[in-house]
C-alpha cells in the first residue's frame, strides 16, 4: 500500500485498483458477518478454495469474505458475481455442487435459492427477493461487496473520494452541506448533526475531540456492529470529514467489548488508513492532521450516554454527570467534544460525495436519508434492513419481514430499545420517522425493531425491559436505581398473579417520578416501555390483575400445562421432564402432576404430537 500525499496520488491508485476489477469479473462472496459466522460460514472458505482449485478455476474466480448482507436468518449466505445470485443456508457439503454446477457449469443450484415461506416461490437474484427489494441500501450498500480487511476494495468502490472533496471544499462548506442535508443523529435522540458540529466547532479551545459511539447497547440492535464489521473504512472516512469540519485533531472510537470481531476489523482498518497516510499528519497534503484511538467498553449500557462514555474513556466508572456543561463545551479530558454514533458517521461520506440535495431527496422532509433497522423477533425474515425514512411499519414488518411465522397474529413492534415503546397493530401504518415515533410513545432509538406476536406477553416484555434497566442503571439516582427496582417488583407481582388495581396506581406514580427526577436519559426514558404498555395494552395487564390470567400464556404463575388425548405415549416428555412430574406408560396417555410441575415448558417443546396444552 503506497502512502498518499495528495488527492492525485489517491486517484491514480484508485484507477489502478479499479482497472483490475472489471464489473463483470467473476467472484464468490461468502458473508463473514457475525450471524453467518455463527452458522459456520468460516468453514466454507477453505472448501471453496479447494474446490475452485480442483476445478481449475483458481485465479479466474475471486473468492472473497465480505461483511454482513443483513439476511442473517438465512445464513450462511453466498453470493455469485457478476450474476448477483444468492445461495442461502450453504453448508460445506453444498460447496462442491455450487462450484461444479454454477461456477463451472453455469447452472443454477435451485435447492439453495431463497424460497418465500408463504408462496414457495424461488428467487435467483438477491435484489429480487422481497427482503431486499423494498430496501434502499446506502450505508449497507457496499457491505456485501467488499472485504472489510481490504482498503483496496474500499478505494475501488470510491472510498475516501468524499474526504478529498471535503478538503477541497473547506470546513465551512462541509459543515453547511451536512446542515443542509438534514442529517439527524442515528444513535437515538435524532439531534441535528450539522448543528451539533457547529456548536463544537464554535466552542473555544483548539484541542477538539470527536468520538464515534459504537457502544451499541440496545438489546436487539446490531446495525452499528454490522457497519463496522462490514465496512469499517466508511466510518473512518465519516469521522475524518467530521473532524475536518469541526477542527478536531483527535478521535476516539468507543466500542462494545461484546463485539470482538468489530474491534478487530476496525483496528485493522485504522492501521491500514495510517499506513496509507489517511490518518496522521498532513492527510492527502491538506495540512490537516487527525488520528484516533479505539477504546473498548467494559459492558455497561449506560456508557452509551455521552457523559458516561466520556467518564469511561477517562478510566472511571461510567456514571453520567449533569449537563451543562455539554460535551461540546467541556467533554473528554476537558476538551470540546463531539459525539456521533457509527451509522451517523457512515452517512457523512455519502452526503459529501453526492451532495446534500441528493441526500435530502431520500426520506421525509424532517427525517432525511435512510435508517438501518435490525428486524428481529417473531418475524419471518429477520436481519438488517435499510429503508428510507418515512416508510410505514407495515411495509417493514410485512413486505420486507415477510410477516409473522407460523400463521400467528401480529401483536406489537418494539422500537427504540429500552428507551422506546411497543406499538400495537393499530399503529402499523404510521410513517417511521424520528418525530412520529416519539409522538406515538415509542422512539427511533438506534434502530432495534422487535416484532412480537400473540404468544408474546406484554407484561412479560415490560418486565423484561425493567429488569434490563434496573441492572444497567448506574445506581447514582435514587429515583432510577430504586424506582426501577420497585417497578420491576410491581410488574413481577402482576406477572405472578399478586397484582391489584392498587399495584397499577403505584406503577403509574413511580413511573412519573422516575421519569421526572432522574439525572440522565437512561432514567428519564426508562419508563417508556412501561408507559406504552399501559397505554396500548392495558387490557392485557388487567387480565393479569383482575382475572389472574395471562392471555399470551407466558407468565408461569398463571398458566398450567396439561396433556390432551393427542398423546401417543411416546414417553419423550416424561424422559425429559426435569421434575419427573410426568407419569405414564408406553403408548398410554401421559399425565402431568401439577404439584411437581415447574412450568419449564420442556414437555411442550419436545412433544411431536402437539399434545401438551397450555391454559
Amino acid at each position: 500500500m503506497p502512502r498518499f500525499s495528495s488527492e492525485k496520488d489517491l486517484e491514480s491508485y484508485r484507477h489502478k485498483v479499479a482497472a483490475g476489477r472489471a464489473p463483470d469479473r467473476r467472484a464468490v462472496a461468502v458473508c463473514a458477518g457475525t450471524g453467518c459466522k455463527a452458522f459456520g460460514s468460516a468453514k466454507l472458505l477453505p472448501v471453496f478454495e479447494a474446490e475452485l482449485a480442483k476445478a481449475s478455476l483458481k485465479g479466474k474466480i475471486e473468492l472473497r469474505a465480505t461483511g454482513c448482507h443483513g439476511f442473517c436468518e438465512r445464513g450462511p449466505l453466498v453470493l455469485i458475481f457478476p450474476a448477483g445470485r444468492l445461495y442461502t443456508k450453504v453448508k460445506p457439503e453444498d460447496v462442491p455442487e455450487i462450484v461444479r454446477e454454477d461456477l463451472a457449469g453455469g447452472r443454477v443450484v435451485e435447492r439453495l435459492l431463497y424460497r418465500d415461506p408463504v408462496s414457495g416461490k424461488a428467487y435467483e437474484k438477491e435484489e429480487d427477493i422481497p427482503f431486499y427489494m423494498h430496501q434502499q441500501r446506502l450505508v449497507l450498500k457496499n457491505n456485501g461487496l467488499l472485504d472489510p480487511a481490504s482498503l483496496d476494495d474500499y478505494l475501488a468502490l470510491g472510498g475516501y473520494r468524499a474526504l478529498a472533496k471535503a478538503f477541497a471544499m473547506g470546513p465551512e462548506k462541509v459543515l453547511e452541506e451536512v446542515k443542509k442535508s438534514g442529517l439527524r443523529g442515528r444513535g437515538g435522540a435524532g439531534f441535528w448533526t450539522g448543528r451539533k458540529w457547529e456548536i463544537c466547532r464554535a466552542a473555544p479551545g483548539p484541542d477538539k475531540v470527536i468520538i464515534c459511539n459504537a457502544d451499541e447497547g440496545d438489546p436487539g440492535a446490531f446495525m452499528d456492529r454490522s457497519v463496522i464489521e462490514g465496512n469499517p473504512h466508511s466510518v473512518l472516512e465519516g469521522m475524518l470529514i467530521g473532524a475536518f469540519a469541526i477542527g478536531a485533531s483527535t478521535g476516539c472510537v468507543y466500542i462494545r467489548q461484546e463485539y470482538p470481531l468489530a474491534v478487530e476489523r476496525l483496528g485493522r482498518a485504522v492501521a491500514a488508513a495510517r499506513e496509507a497516510g489517511l490518518l496522521g499528519e498532513n492527510i492527502l497534503g491538506s495540512g490537516f492532521a487527525f488520528d484516533l484511538r479505539i477504546y473498548r467498553g467494559g459492558g455497561a449500557f449506560v456508557c452509551g450516554e455521552e457523559s458516561a462514555m466520556i467518564a469511561s474513556i477517562e478510566g472511571r466508572r461510567g456514571v453520567p454527570r449533569r449537563r451543562p456543561p455539554y460535551p461540546a463545551q467541556s467533554g473528554l479530558w476537558g476538551r470540546p467534544t463531539n459525539i456521533n454514533n457509527v451509522e451517523t458517521w457512515a452517512n457523512v461520506p455519502w452526503i459529501i460525495d453526492r451532495g446534500a440535495d441528493w441526500y435530502r431527496a431520500i426520506g421525509t422532509e424532517k427525517s432525511t436519508g435512510t435508517k438501518i433497522f435490525s428486524l428481529v423477533g417473531k418475524v419471518n425474515n429477520t436481519g438488517l434492513v435499510e429503508v428510507p425514512m418515512g416508510i410505514s411499519l407495515r411495509q417493514i414488518v410485512f413486505d420486507i419481514g415477510g410477516g409473522i411465522p407460523g400463521g400467528k397474529k401480529f401483536k406489537a413492534v418494539q422500537t427504540g430499545g429500552p428507551s422506546g415503546g411497543c406499538l400495537p397493530a393499530s399503529k402499523l401504518d404510521i410513517p417511521v420517522d424520528f418525530d412520529t415515533l416519539v409522538r406515538e410513545g415509542a422512539m427511533m432509538g438506534s434502530g432495534g425493531m422487535i416484532v412480537m406476536d400473540e404468544s408474546t406477553c406484554m407484561v412479560d416484555v415490560a418486565r423484561y425491559f425493567l429488569n434490563f434497566l434496573k441492572f444497567e442503571s448506574c445506581g447514582n439516582c435514587t429515583s432510577c436505581r430504586d424506582g426501577l427496582y420497585q417497578l420491576h417488583r410491581l410488574f413481577t407481582d402482576i406477572a405472578e398473579g399478586r397484582g391489584s388495581e392498587h399495584t397499577l396506581e403505584l406503577v403509574e406514580e413511580l413511573a412519573r417520578t422516575v421519569k421526572a427526577t432522574s439525572l440522565c436519559a437512561l432514567g428519564s426514558t426508562a419508563v417508556n416501555p412501561v408507559e406504552s404498555t399501559l397505554k396500548y395494552f392495558r387490557e392485557e395487564i388487567l387480565a393479569h390483575v383482575r382475572d389472574r390470567r395471562c392471555p399470551a400464556k407466558v407468565c408461569k404463575a398463571l398458566i398450567t400445562y396439561t396433556i390432551n388425548d393427542k398423546c401417543n405415549g411416546c414417553t419423550l416428555c416424561a424422559k425429559r421432564c426435569p421434575q419427573q412430574a410426568i407419569t405414564g406408560t408406553v403408548k398410554k396417555l401421559h399425565v402431568i402432576d401439577q404439584k411437581k410441575c415447574i412450568k419449564c415448558g420442556i414437555c411442550l417443546d419436545v412433544c411431536k404430537q402437539d399434545a401438551v396444552w397450555v391454559e
Binding site: 457475525t34 454490522s226 467489548q257
Partner: protein, 164 residues
C-alpha cells in the same frame, strides 16, 4: 465439593502487562483491566492491587471501576463459559427458558461457576446476533436458534470435555 482455591497469580506477567501502560496514567484503567482479563480470564485481586500501584490510584478506585462494568470478572471463571444471550429478540424467542434449564442442569445460578471450576454460566444483554435468537455462546462459539431440546446434548459435550 469446595470451590478450588484461586490459582496463584504470575506477578511477573502482571507487571509485564502493566508496563505497556504509562505509570501514573489513571485514565488507562479500563484498558489495563481489559488487558489483565485477556491474560487471566478474570481479574485477580493481586493483579488489581498491582494495577493500582502502577497507575498511582487507590485500590478502592480500581475496585469501584472493575465492579461497575459487567464485562469484568473478579472471580476465577470455569474452564468453559456458557453464555445465554438475554437480548430482547432472544427473550421473546425463549431465552429465559434456556437459562432456567441451564441453571437446573448445571446446578449454578447465572453468574456462577460450578464448584469444580469446569463451567461458568453467564448472561449477556445482547451480542448483536439477534437474527439467530435464542442464542447460546459456548466458549466464544455461537449456537443460534437454540432449543430446550437441543440444549442437553450441547451441555453434555461441554461437561464431558471439561472432565477429560
Amino acid at each position: 465439593m469446595t470451590p478450588a482455591a484461586a490459582p496463584a497469580v504470575d506477578t511477573a506477567k502482571v507487571k509485564e502487562i502493566l508496563s505497556r501502560h504509562p505509570a501514573g496514567d489513571a485514565g488507562a484503567l479500563v484498558n489495563v483491566l481489559h488487558d489483565l482479563q485477556a491474560e487471566f480470564r478474570y481479574l485477580p485481586e493481586e493483579a488489581l492491587k498491582l494495577a493500582a500501584e502502577h497507575l498511582q490510584i487507590s485500590q478502592a478506585q480500581v475496585f469501584g471501576v472493575a465492579t461497575f462494568y459487567e464485562g469484568f470478572h473478579l472471580k476465577p471463571r470455569g474452564k468453559h463459559v456458557c453464555t445465554v444471550c438475554m437480548g430482547t429478540a432472544c427473550h421473546v424467542r425463549g431465552a429465559p427458558k434456556l437459562l432456567d434449564q441451564l441453571e437446573r442442569d448445571l446446578k449454578v445460578r447465572a453468574g456462577g461457576t460450578t464448584p469444580d471450576l469446569s463451567v461458568t454460566l453467564e448472561t449477556v444483554n445482547c451480542v448483536g446476533a439477534c437474527a439467530l435468537g435464542p442464542l447460546l455462546i459456548v466458549d466464544g462459539e455461537y449456537h443460534g436458534n437454540m432449543t430446550t431440546g437441543r440444549l442437553p446434548k450441547l451441555v453434555d459435550s461441554v461437561l464431558k470435555e471439561g472432565k477429560s
